[in-house]
Assembly symmetry: C2
Homo-oligomer: 200 residues x 2
DNA sequence: TTAAATACTGTATATAATTACAGTTATGAA
DNA sequence: TTCATAACTGTAATTATATACAGTATTTAA
């Protein structure tokens, strides 16, 4: 229900930019003028389409009564991960942090609250929030969020091959975790791309 | 030039809330209705006053042509601190991070980029950004940003009295710093209230 | 004390803006 | 083929909106 046509995207982007730049939305005539429409009704038609597709709200009768539908709930913060189910399951979401501006440079899919002290030598302390990107390439040396037999853990990926994956805690009191992905259930939830610590 | 009267503040706050809530600014009539004015001209007068005081932009002729003047440049990120001068001097500002939403719970006056490894055992690594609050009470045990004879340093405040201040690095390779505030120039730039790390 | 600013009422009007209705043309799916 | 959707032109009417002008009363700064 949210695949806009090329033209609709152009109109939608223009409206967003206008709101950003002027502080208020454009009128039908203003849209028409910018796109070279000879009738404000062309803009009206586009607005109706964008409303129908759920990306705009239109308040009838109000001048400039256009607003952007924001489905952006914020970036979820994952506390304890319940066994089974996906990490992003509703019951795992502790709260959400507005994603209004990307303070961290990579895309952040979710924040994970750190349990335990296995990563303190990498400067990752208990209760820190690590910013996780789900799609960033999993590679040697990066800090990964791994799931081993339904247990979620944050470790440095030391080596990876088809029958041996070595996960290294950054705490000399702990030993490396060696997993054979053919025998055990191993998956990667993502890569650590940042960290937030909130002193309170 | 920016001291609004009580009434003007009410109007100004209302306009901000309307923009936040509806996505577009109110009309004169809408303002008048909410405040019980019997004439839209009362709203017009207020808008003119708010424009004159520099907190609003009004685009003449445009319906709802009201926008908030934003002086908010974002929270400064301080890189290297040049000797002398205040920490927030222009030349020290590396960039600014939009303060659209307070991710961290305390007020953040600026971010300071960490140099060196003196705090690694507190999970503060080189190049991390520590969030600094200038006004939070300086107390024993908190991580403070101190200035000793024009040198800025981040340490844990171990003890404080009129003739001895002990600053403790969180790295066993370093020794405590002892300062006599009567003999040396010591000031506190603020308290660490958070941390941002951006893996890149 | 005197002018300027604040905070309104009341009226009126030009124009800004929404939006319906009637069409045209092109494209892709049933 | 035929119908729905997309992307417009063109016209026009209702209503939404900005905003000027003329007042009044109160408060505040010079």
């Amino acid at each position: 229900m949210n695949d806009l046509t090329t033209r609709q995207s152009e109109i939608f982007e223009f409206i967003k930019k206008e709101i950003e730049f002027n502080g208020y939305p454009p009128t039908r005539s203003e849209i028409a003028k910018v796109f070279g429409f000879k009738s404000p009704n062309a803009a009206e038609d586009h607005l109706k389409a964008l409303k129908k597709k759920g990306v705009l709200n239109i308040v009838s009768g109000a001048s400039r009564g256009i607003s952007i539908v924001k489905e952006d709930l914020g970036i979820p913060v994952i506390g304890l991960v319940s066994a089974g189910g996906p990490i992003l399951a509703q019951e795992n979401i502790e709260k959400r942090i507005p994603s209004t501006q990307n303070i961290l440079s990579h895309g952040v899919d979710f924040y994970l609250r750190v349990k335990g002290d296995s990563m303190i030598e990498a400067g990752i302390l208990e209760n820190d929030l690590i910013a996780v990107n789900k799609k960033a390439q999993i590679k040697k040396g990066s800090i990964v969020i791994a799931r081993i037999n339904d247990e979620v853990t944050v470790k440095t990926l030391k080596s990876i091959s088809s029958d041996l994956v070595v996960l290294q805690p950054e705490n000399s009191n702990y030993s490396n975790i060696e997993v054979n992905p053919k025998k055990e259930n191993l998956s990667f939830e993502g890569t650590c791309v940042g960290l937030l610590r909130d002193f309170c």
